[in-house]
């Protein structure tokens, strides 16, 4: 692995007699999305504030590209920090300024760009973050989700190399949460900045993260990929991950990938040579759809697909999980290929009558003269308890075909 972009070495921070960080060691790598997870009040935001220089460590050092920040000269430190943006948990928008002025502020105050160039850049960001209708409104006149988007637009307006997101989805509904995470992932890919997130959105945040850092009992107890975290054996898993996953299950009805694997493992232990069916659902053309219908509508479509899958297969003993940003897997114990196919056919009928029509009304809002298609794919395969479930999933994925299509035209007539 490359040398870390940012590194904490034995960083300790105290507020009075309260030690918040105790000899914390961590590495953040360039171009990656790194997410810090931990319980509320465990010091995650304090860590972010150390990176941007709002707080200084009492002990230890923070290194940027291998050099201690404390030893970097004032001018070079200013250049370094100018490459970092910070999105505050409470947004920290200037409430006496309009959305436009909030986003334009860093450019006006820290650059010598012309008025027209600032205007061009600000309006481009406003369009990308779907804030066109709110340009001249004040933050207090916006919904929580819109305020988050203004904060995101402001954080990205200077084209930073590193963006720190302090709980970017706090206080948002599930659709909005995933829309914000999806927006962060999209911009990270597009602008190729290094993102550091503090988040509780487990497992949703796994889909956009390259690395996870677990803060527990004032120390970093885990650093690795989301997949590696699933095999991590530590009290942190019981106290933090399980409770957050249980909450997510309660909200969406879907199992986390870890729970899904554990249930599958337990089932395999109990029965031998039993068959099971696997269905892999995907939403195709999400990336082309998002610019047309917006992040919120795309997430609404995704969430409704998840709910429909859980509603249909959950009552007959199926287990479903979200595998990545636009893919769901359902496992049907005791179902052979023919049964799985029959159950899928019933699902398609249900989905078309109950979900697709509602989706068409709610999400099909494209500009006049424009059109957007959202294809739902599904593939099935049969597995046996002794076989590797991942292989069965790959087989099902290879057999994917279109089962439904949502066609959005400006008039909203066609499907």
């Amino acid at each position: 692995m490359d040398a870390p972009l940012i590194e904490f070495r034995n960083v300790t921070k105290r507020f009075g007699s309260n030690t918040v960080l105790d000899r914390v060691n961590l590495q953040i790598y360039e171009g990656q999305v790194t997410t810090i997870i931990g319980l509320s009040g465990s010091g995650k935001s304090v860590m972010l504030k150390h990176i941007i220089g709002l707080l200084q460590p009492d002990e230890g050092e923070i290194l940027f590209r291998g050099r201690p920040i404390a030893k970097i000269g004032r001018a070079r430190k200013a250049v370094l920090f100018s490459q970092i943006s910070y999105m505050f948990q409470g947004n920290a928008l200037f409430d006496s300024m309009s959305v436009y002025d909030n986003i334009a502020l860093p450019l006006r105050e820290t650059t010598r760009l012309s008025k027209s160039e600032i205007d061009r850049r600000v309006m481009a960001r406003i369009e990308q973050t779907e804030l066109t209708e709110a340009v001249w409104r004040f933050p207090s006149e916006l919904s929580g989700g819109m305020q988050k988007r203004v904060a995101l637009a402001r954080a990205l307006i200077t084209d930073p190399k590193i963006v720190l997101f302090d709980e970017p989805t706090t206080g948002q509904d599930p659709v909005r949460k995933n829309a914000i995470l999806s927006m962060i992932a999209q911009y990270q890919r597009k602008l190729n900045f290094t993102a550091v997130l503090v988040s509780h959105e487990i497992p949703d945040v796994y889909f956009i993260s390259n690395r996870i850092l677990a803060l527990y009992d004032r120390q970093i107890v885990f650093q690795g990929t989301p997949e590696e975290l699933e095999n991590f054996d530590h009290p942190f898993m019981d106290e933090v991950i399980n409770s957050l996953e249980a909450l997510q299950k309660e909200l969406t009805g879907l199992y986390s990938q870890r729970q899904f694997k554990m249930l599958n493992h337990a089932r395999m232990k109990r029965q031998s040579a039993e068959v099971y069916g696997v269905i892999v659902f995907s939403l195709q053309e999400m990336n082309t759809l998002i610019p047309k219908i917006g992040h919120d509508a795309a997430q609404e479509a995704l969430r409704n697909l998840g709910l429909a899958i859980n509603r249909h297969f959950g009552i007959i003993g199926g287990m479903s999980t979200r595998r990545n940003t636009n893919e769901f897997i359902t496992m049907l114990p005791h179902a052979d290929l023919a049964e799985t196919e029959s159950l899928l056919r019933e699902f398609v009928k249900d989905f078309e009558t109950q979900t697709l029509d509602a989706l068409k009304d709610r999400t099909c809002r494209v500009a006049a003269g424009d059109a957007a298609d959202l294809a739902v794919l599904a593939g099935i395969a049969e597995g046996r308890n002794f076989s590797d479930v991942n292989e069965t999933i790959v087989q099902a994925k290879m057999k994917q075909h279109e089962i439904a299509r949502l066609r959005c035209a400006a008039s909203g007539e066609n499907r």
């Binding site: 941007i52 970092i84 928008l93 200037f94 860093p106 006006r108």
Partner: protein, 282 residues
């Protein structure tokens, strides 16, 4: 036996210690207060120095004009109202007192010198503290507790340059102008009460002003106005800027208390510095 003696000695030593501690408590308290005061005085001096050093930076002019409008232009109506009645009361009182000695011809000079050298700068500063100083402390305090000042820092915008310098510069410009308005309207108020209402000779009123008021008196009044401007703007900005560091409160309450402290401390310091400046100028 030896143990009992030891215990007795220990007890006596403890009592002696406690007695000393009780006796020294008032001194310790005074010491703490002095250290606290000196700390804040030093911090405020550095705060003022940093703000002044940022006044002549790029893109400051528009912000200073904006603050002059808020501190200066929007305070004019209240200044006119207060100064008119202050001048009228002075005219009445001066006439009532001087007529007993047959010196009613000095009413104009008494009214104008009182206003120009003392009441004009002091009352103007107190009125601006009440109207604009409190608003400055509250606004900056809210910016602080809602992390908007931290947000400025993360955007590499110097909060001292962006928030504090324009306000201090605007106060330095606005206070003398408003003081001049106060003086002029107050002198007119004195004319209204002493000449138009009581019947003093108009020529005598204006003549005594012309004879007794010198440019040095006017200059002294403006010196006071500038001193008060620096004190009021620094105290109000400082209280708001460090609202989050108050030990007696948190959050919105700290903003409220910071605003109250800003107004009370500004008024006290206006009166204290008025004495100091007067003693230096006389």
């Amino acid at each position: 036996m030896a143990q009992a003696l030891d215990a007795n000695n220990n007890m006596k030593a403890t009592r002696k210690d406690t007695g000393l501690r009780l006796m020294s408590r008032p001194f310790a308290k005074v010491g703490r207060l002095v250290i606290f005061g000196v700390n804040h005085l030093g911090a405020a001096a550095i705060f003022l120095f940093l703000a002044l050093s940022q006044i002549f930076r790029r893109k400051q002019f528009a912000k200073i004009i904006e603050q002059i409008y808020f501190i200066g232009a929007r305070s004019i109506s209240i200044i006119i109202l207060v100064s008119l009645f202050t001048g009228m009361v002075l005219g009445l009182q001066a006439h009532h007192a001087l007529v007993q000695f047959g010196a009613e011809g000095a009413v104009g000079s008494l009214v104008s010198l009182s206003l120009i050298m003392e009441l004009g700068p002091v009352l103007t500063a107190i009125m601006i503290t009440a109207r604009a100083g409190s608003a400055i402390a509250a606004e900056i305090g809210i910016l602080r507790i809602s992390e908007q000042i931290d947000a400025l820092s993360t955007m590499r915008i110097n909060p001292m340059r962006y928030l504090i310098s324009p306000r201090i510069a605007a106060a330095i410009v606005s206070f003398p102008i408003l003081t001049a308005v106060f003086d002029l309207v107050g002198i007119f108020g004195g004319y209204v009460s002493a000449v138009l209402l009581v019947g003093l000779n108009s020529g005598a009123y204006w003549h005594s002003i012309q004879v007794y008021v010198t440019s040095g008196d006017i200059f002294d009044g403006f010196v006071k106005a500038v001193v008060f401007a620096v004190i009021v703007a620094t105290v109000c900005c400082y209280q708001g800027y460090f609202a989050h560091m108050r030990r007696d409160s948190h959050g919105a309450q700290s903003v409220g208390l910071a605003t109250t402290s800003a107004v009370v401390l500004s008024c006290v310091l206006i009166l204290v510095s008025d004495y100091v400046v007067t003693s230096l100028l006389i």
